[in-house]
């Protein structure tokens, strides 16, 4: 700082915090339990996702058709992308072919209107 006013101001002593605050503030802070970085809830959630991922992976392995029911409704795009082309083809071939819908039959016999006669 070149300005003499700034120098003078910065040298002025400031009032310190009241001495009796220290004990009060630190005692209250010491009573506060520290927050854990990884709570039990987060760990349980992570474990559940890992389990789901493993089941999905295993059910996509060849010869594990009996496992498909376990994770059928859960879609994990990452794991789907890792499947081999043979596995995808096998799945497609295993699905029953859709049957075409039967022609609709009208139950009422339309009477020719007077205008068309």
């Amino acid at each position: 700082m070149q300005d003499p006013l700034e120098t003078r101001l910065s040298q002025l002593p400031l009032r310190p915090a009241p001495a009796h605050w220290r004990r009060a503030i630190l005692n209250r802070a010491a009573d506060m339990p520290p927050r854990k970085r990884l709570s039990a809830n987060w760990l349980a959630l992570a474990a559940a996702w890992i389990l789901i991922g493993l089941l999905q992976w295993h059910s996509n392995a060849p010869g594990a058709a009996h496992m498909k029911g376990l994770t059928g409704p859960i879609y994990l795009p990452v794991l789907s992308a890792l499947r081999t082309q043979e596995a995808v083809l096998e799945e497609l071939l295993a699905e029953p072919l859709p049957t075409p819908p039967a022609p609709r039959q009208s139950r009422t016999i339309l009477q020719p209107s007077a205008a068309t006669v």
């Binding site: 003499p4 003078r8 910065s10 400031l14 605050w21 009060a24 209250r28 506060m32």
Partner: protein, 168 residues
């Protein structure tokens, strides 16, 4: 190894107190804000790990806590009343018992400054922060911090000139 709360208090509490006192002359509110800062540190001991500058981080946290507490006050009238009742001076006499005209004039002038300018002035003069650090602490741009500082210093210079020039 993290510094203990006691170590942090001893190193920074006086500076925090002086800054908050310059922002608001209500000691009850300042004590609550200081308490908030240390409760936050106790809840999350890793909080200071993310801070580049511990002092600047604590000043920012204290400033935010003070602002939130002032907002939470039930009635502004009550706050203003308490504000008037308790007005501790920011500056200490250089020599005990000294009647320092400069110090008293500065004290009055500081209170007349807008609080935004006062906060910037304090961080620059007594904390020696850069304008970038002040901007980060107060959520303003470094340019705004610099212009507020210049305005505040000009006002101080005008008011203090008679007292100041006598002493040069």
């Amino acid at each position: 190894m993290h510094p203990s709360l006691e170590q942090i208090y001893d190193a920074h509490a006086d500076a925090l107190y002086a800054f908050l006192l310059n922002c608001c002359r209500d000691e009850t509110l300042i004590q609550d804000a200081l308490q908030e800062v240390f409760l936050k540190l106790a809840r999350n001991p890793f909080l200071l790990e993310t801070a580049r500058d511990t002092r600047a981080f604590l000043l920012r946290t204290g400033h935010n806590a003070l602002r939130d507490l002032a907002r939470r006050n039930s009635t502004r009238a009550r706050y203003e009343q308490r504000h008037l009742e308790q007005t501790p001076t920011l500056l200490l006499p250089v020599f005990p018992g000294e009647d320092d005209a400069f110090r008293l004039a500065l004290e009055t002038c500081l209170q007349d400054l807008p609080k935004e300018q006062r906060a910037v002035l304090h961080l620059k003069l007594w904390e020696d922060l850069t304008f970038a650090q002040i901007g980060e602490t107060l959520d303003i741009s470094p340019h705004t911090a610099a212009s507020r500082y210049r305005y505040a210093l000009d006002k101080l210079r005008n008011v203090l000139r008679p007292v100041y020039e006598e002493r040069l």
